[in-house]
Subunit: 158 residues, 6 copies
Amino acid sequence: MTPLSHFDAKGQAHMVDVGGKSVTDRVAVAEGWVLMTPATLALAAGGAAKGDVLGTARLAGIMAAKRTADLIPLCHPLPLSKVAIELIPDAARGGVRIEATVATSGRTGVEMEALTAVSVAALTVYDMLKAAEKSMRIEGIRLLRKEGGKSGTFEAAP
Amino acid sequence: MTPLSHFDAKGQAHMVDVGGKSVTDRVAVAEGWVLMTPATLALAAGGAAKGDVLGTARLAGIMAAKRTADLIPLCHPLPLSKVAIELIPDAARGGVRIEATVATSGRTGVEMEALTAVSVAALTVYDMLKAAEKSMRIEGIRLLRKEGGKSGTFEAAP
Amino acid sequence: MTPLSHFDAKGQAHMVDVGGKSVTDRVAVAEGWVLMTPATLALAAGGAAKGDVLGTARLAGIMAAKRTADLIPLCHPLPLSKVAIELIPDAARGGVRIEATVATSGRTGVEMEALTAVSVAALTVYDMLKAAEKSMRIEGIRLLRKEGGKSGTFEAAP
Amino acid sequence: MTPLSHFDAKGQAHMVDVGGKSVTDRVAVAEGWVLMTPATLALAAGGAAKGDVLGTARLAGIMAAKRTADLIPLCHPLPLSKVAIELIPDAARGGVRIEATVATSGRTGVEMEALTAVSVAALTVYDMLKAAEKSMRIEGIRLLRKEGGKSGTFEAAP
Amino acid sequence: MTPLSHFDAKGQAHMVDVGGKSVTDRVAVAEGWVLMTPATLALAAGGAAKGDVLGTARLAGIMAAKRTADLIPLCHPLPLSKVAIELIPDAARGGVRIEATVATSGRTGVEMEALTAVSVAALTVYDMLKAAEKSMRIEGIRLLRKEGGKSGTFEAAP
Amino acid sequence: MTPLSHFDAKGQAHMVDVGGKSVTDRVAVAEGWVLMTPATLALAAGGAAKGDVLGTARLAGIMAAKRTADLIPLCHPLPLSKVAIELIPDAARGGVRIEATVATSGRTGVEMEALTAVSVAALTVYDMLKAAEKSMRIEGIRLLRKEGGKSGTFEAAP
């Protein structure tokens, strides 16, 4: 038997029954990076006057969070109550840091929604800047924190 | 003026006119990783009998490639002619390596389709295994190669 | 600081947190017009025997209401409990009047759903009739009434 | 018999056969307005520092253009080659003017894509500003020009 | 007057108001068949080593269940709490039997979600095997059982 | 090795490369039935005055044909040039016969689009009539004919 809840006893994928879980407030925070050269980072950080790379990526990430259950086969559809995304140029690390916070009141968590928001925001940063640099890399996408639900709070190691 | 083709001379986002570009065969290959503990990797590699994590992620990635223009705001919709995704457990690196190949015959490239396929496949690997380990990380998503179009061939550094 | 709830204190777009709002019954009614020549209006009003322009637009509007959160970047996804659309040929005004009523039980209102239903129904009326007249205009799309939620009832001026 | 191409001889809706039409370059330009009070218009025009209403609406309109065939029942799916949207605050008229230009190389025109882009951009302007004013109105959505295809060029009356 | 709830008193389609219905646990089970030759059935049953026809169809059906309200014009959007699909090769009947179980806690039933899951799983079985046999048939799609809601339990005749 | 083109040599699902196939005109015709009691069939056939069951199903089927590549995992996205659906009440057989014709000019066929159109039209007939009869069955969905492409013409046995 598998410990993975997305499979039944026969190893067949299913969207697991969450009908018996209680409705609680749930929050998830995820982060990720798009690494690039200083010249490309300057374009990313240029702001709205020169083309709003980070604002475009923020909207793409927010809209993607709402479509998570359409993209991830076994995710439950959830009525999200909040999606917020920060994109911060970080010259020291050499890239843009992305952090997404998603909240709902429901029977299952929003980890995948937060991770999807970060991923699509990162892809959009890449798309907006790829005319300048094709060798950018998307790195370090991970769950930072989740709260709510039976499994309680998860906090990533620093 | 910005060198970024997704903005016009005033810095406003637009879906750039590719009507004057010629229709050529285009291919893009992208890769990425989902890093995890050896115990989680054993679950991922367990195969169909115990729950087909990698097969599920492969399908999710293929379907996501087809929806790239829906997710990335300034991407052109393209009739893809091929999408193939490899997911290979790699004990040495400690994770699953994902490689996506996308082809089209069109006026613009399929880099974003390949990167989106890798990203959503990686998110699905995370989703399928998160009951076992929440601290997995998605790393190293990048374009490996592209061919076709005016800018010619791009090959990533090794 | 902006009085607009869709932006945070830094002016960044976000899907605002409605988790603290109470679940109440909410209704919104919106209207709009597609103006056209009398000859085109006769085609629109011809009814099912000659091609059901208004019935097609009604269905398109209902289906669009369900996709509002997919179209409007910062809208919250909501499980709608009712969508009804009236399309009435009005010879005096010279066009088709569209009125949409949407209801839900949720944490945020359905104004955008009602306005989206009217807009897509109007676009479909245009599409169905454009072989006869390309100079039709969509006019007067506005919120007529909303009920429910903290801001209470809004009633448009006549 | 109906002169409307979206219906067959029996008056039944169908997606008309365009297989015999030739592939030509096609362009469509549409416009529309969101009318509001001067105070609201000042918020709309405030720019990115205070919350980028017009940039958000531009992206929403571009993304909606790509989904036109999903929204309008009898529209043919088309691989768009260009989508550009201008949103210009106009104090004289008391609102935001929206103009969308869409191009393709295909067997059918892109009038509906341009009108859909304007409509969804207008709805997004409304959504972003509705906390300040619920009585805004969307007005004057119409086709300004189309080029290409058998029916040739259409130019709206001034 | 029509006894069909999807139409109003004038015979116009609407998404009927379920706001007054109580939220109850609801389950629906549907079944269907894809009939084929023994040689094709052997390919279907071959399992993951030779190409996982049934696993692919299972995922397609699960994802389609989540999109039911997007496909069926007057269906209410619902946050599903469970979707499970069995696909069983049946040599005696000469085909693959598909059974889908869908659950929610909501104001309206999930019969259409279960039937849509079966239908799209069946279409996917056809698609995966059509290189071997184009004359397969999809048969016997029906509701087996529903529970919950005012109309209570329905049980199909054997 | 599998004879199924949707799997590679290792049995892994992929969207097969059609880049080398020539662009030809392609047509597919599919049919299916929704069987019901005579009383339900009378409601279905009642026409627009009493609620247009068949017109609603026709539109749902047309819209679904355009979304086939979104629903069927390994289908190629295709720009359809025609979709037409007939729904004919047949008292002798005791149900509604559905026939869909889909055409494109492309590198791969439209069998799945025709079968999907029939399936979703049938599901919509069920949905519209289920308040009157839950024991309806969807039967006999099959490909009637396809033309174009390397494999040439297929004609179903009568």
